[in-house]
Symmetry: C2
Subunit: 210 residues, 2 copies
DNA sequence: TAGATTGTTAATCGATTAACAATC
DNA sequence: TAGATTGTTAATCGATTAACAATC
């Protein structure tokens, strides 16, 4: 199978390839793709090999063809339907963010327990009460559940999503949650990220960059 | 030097140790620490070795002592002063988040270019105009700059922060930015995170979990 | 003492890089 | 053809895991 690291790089390649398309570049060499994304040429060739895309020793890789192939490889053809739970500042930031990313990523429903938010439409996405989650997700199933509630409720919300057939979760709450192995969990731990940034900033200042 | 992976795990250990302290646990074995954080006992012992903390074959590791040692290792003793640029939804979410994390992480100033936000105090942090950044950061220097502006301005903001002596950046904007090697950069690419979650959710559904 | 865990070294594993024949 | 790049295998590197003597 394709490793997590390779997937991450493929996402970065695609983002760059889209930029190259707007610049009307037709072909790109592994060396150029590597330099522009902070990798090595060998790494790029190995990654592209893993998705079965071939280049040409004379011209390099076809930009449009490669971009399309990565897209096909990464994204299911009917896109990704997402449900978001917790319409606080972070939730609203994510709703706003993805409203520009259609049609691949579609936020199909938002949930909260604050009555003031219920019924409102934020960035084109309707906010429901959390108790209606089973009904809403039965009508419009979601591939990805985005958890942006305070930590103490994260596990409960995760359990609800899983019970209602959501196969993947993205957890932004600081509380670690448990899921069965059949469910994919991506955790974005802000505290950890900032602690790490703080540590390495300090280390970099002290010249520890070997 | 201590690897990035080890630093990440140390942060997780500490978070758990703090929980154990509230539960009045005095000692913990490497096996328990490992199970509770999703690692192996050997991994834990190796990580603790790298920061020079010793346990006892009879009782395991002293919870309070270990927690304190990790804290001392990770965090400069006068805490981390942060400046945040871009007071949109994401910026406000982060301001709210860190207002509860004092005194280690202190948001000393926020900046925006929207006149409606200038002068307001959000989660205890005053919002200044971006043009005043040099003055404000001269008076209250920051260790970490948090970039939550739309992508197109990210590089310009990063350059301003670096020019004004900020040694570490956390970039939430989708646009990749360039920094000199003397500056530490932590990138949180939401698009990448969601693309990855979507891919692995799909792969997990198809049973590709070897 | 007997039994379990720590600290640390050696073995293993996986991912990255180097090398080079095949190709254009 | 000569020169450069691709595709792929072999070598290297770094991180994880296994093993075990020392310790309590």
């Amino acid at each position: 199978m394709v490793s997590q690291k390779t997937i991450e790089r493929l996402i970065v390649y695609r983002s760059l390839l889209e930029k190259l398309i707007t610049e009307h570049e037709e072909y790109v060499y592994s060396k150029a793709l590597a330099t522009l994304t902070g990798n090595t040429a060998a790494q790029v060739r190995r990654d592209l090999m893993s998705i079965g895309f071939s280049g040409n020793p004379k011209y390099g890789y076809d930009v449009k063809g490669l971009c399309q192939q990565i897209k096909t490889f990464l994204e299911p053809k009917d896109g990704i339907a997402m449900a978001l739970i917790g319409v606080g500042n972070l939730g609203r930031a994510i709703l706003g963010y993805f409203s520009t990313m259609r049609p691949t990523f579609r936020l199909v429903a938002a949930f909260d327990t604050d009555e003031n938010k219920i019924g409102r439409v934020i960035s084109g996405c309707r906010c429901h009460h959390l108790r209606d989650l089973p009904n809403v997700l039965t009508k419009t199933p979601a591939d990805l559940g985005v958890i942006t509630v305070p930590g103490s409720n994260a596990q409960r919300v995760a359990d609800m999503l899983i019970e209602n057939g959501v196969p993947g979760l993205v957890n932004f709450s600081p509380e670690p949650i448990k899921v069965p192995t059949t469910v994919h969990l991506e955790t974005i731990n802000m505290t950890l990220l900032f602690e790490k940034a703080a540590y390495f900033t300090n280390a970099t200042e002290k010249g520890e960059t070997p």
